[in-house]
């Protein structure tokens, strides 16, 4: 389960619009309460870290976060006393659900936020929806991750 404050969602939504018609990608940082069984980790997102999409050859439908960018993100999380909770990326002119390619490249124990960004006919895009997805530990399924609703203290 993941809690995504409105302010955090607004930030990744803006990234999807800024990079349209290319895919955006980045890292979610926050606090993690590990669960005792699979799928019951509780994640509390508090910040994002936008990363340049390294798939410059086809940024319209692919994204890559380089190992160097990943290491920088973990160092940034450590420095802020936060954990790397997962990743976000956008689907320009498509749906807020992962593709087969997304699933094949996903890792368990992380949140994958996918957002839909729709073209407005004037070259700009608007983020119209998003959802978080979680890969089963045995890679058998990529399921919608329940949202923890409401405001939280701290």
């Amino acid at each position: 389960m993941i809690h995504v404050p409105d302010a955090v969602a607004a930030r990744f939504a803006a990234e999807g619009e800024r990079t349209y018609p290319a895919e955006c990608c980045g890292v979610l940082l926050g606090r993690l309460e590990p669960g005792a069984t699979e799928g019951c980790d509780r994640r509390y997102a508090s910040a994002i870290l936008p990363v340049d999409n390294a798939r410059t050859d086809r940024a319209g439908d692919r994204f890559v976060i380089t190992p160097e960018a990943y290491l920088k993100a973990e160092a940034a999380a450590d420095a802020q006393g936060l954990e790397l909770l997962g990743f976000y990326h956008s689907h320009p002119d498509d749906q807020a659900r992962p593709s087969d390619y997304d699933r094949d490249h996903a890792w368990p124990n992380l949140s994958y936020i996918v957002m839909a960004v729709q073209g407005q006919g004037d070259g700009t895009g608007r983020t119209t929806g998003w959802a978080s997805w979680e890969l089963a530990a045995d890679r058998s399924a990529f399921r919608p991750e329940p949202l923890i609703e409401g405001g939280l203290h701290g």
Partner: protein, 92 residues
């Protein structure tokens, strides 16, 4: 011996440890020692043939072992060996 840095995605298999010391004079030996200690981690690092999976990068300090000697890259107790998941996706 080397200090291994475990990414968030794999800490579920290392009792939430972010840093683990592992014996071995090479990266390969240290990773094998890590997988012996945490057997649930092994399938995420190695394929059935015992080769490092393509979706896993290993850095010694700031350098990918693919630019060094791969799993034969030597390590010392001061070496920091970071496991780094490849992160990718896309619409099609």
């Amino acid at each position: 011996m080397a200090k291994l840095s475990i990414p968030t995605a794999l800490r579920a298999y290392t009792e939430r440890q972010a840093k683990v010391d592992a014996d071995g004079a090479t990266v390969g030996a240290a990773l094998a020692a890590l997988a012996d200690r945490y057997p649930d981690l092994r399938p995420h690092l190695f394929d059935e043939a015992g080769e490092l999976r393509g979706f896993v990068n290993v850095f010694v300090g700031d350098t990918n072992i693919r630019s060094l000697a791969g799993l034969a890259t030597p390590v010392t107790p001061d070496s920091v060996v970071a496991l780094v998941p490849a992160i990718a996706g896309g619409l099609r």
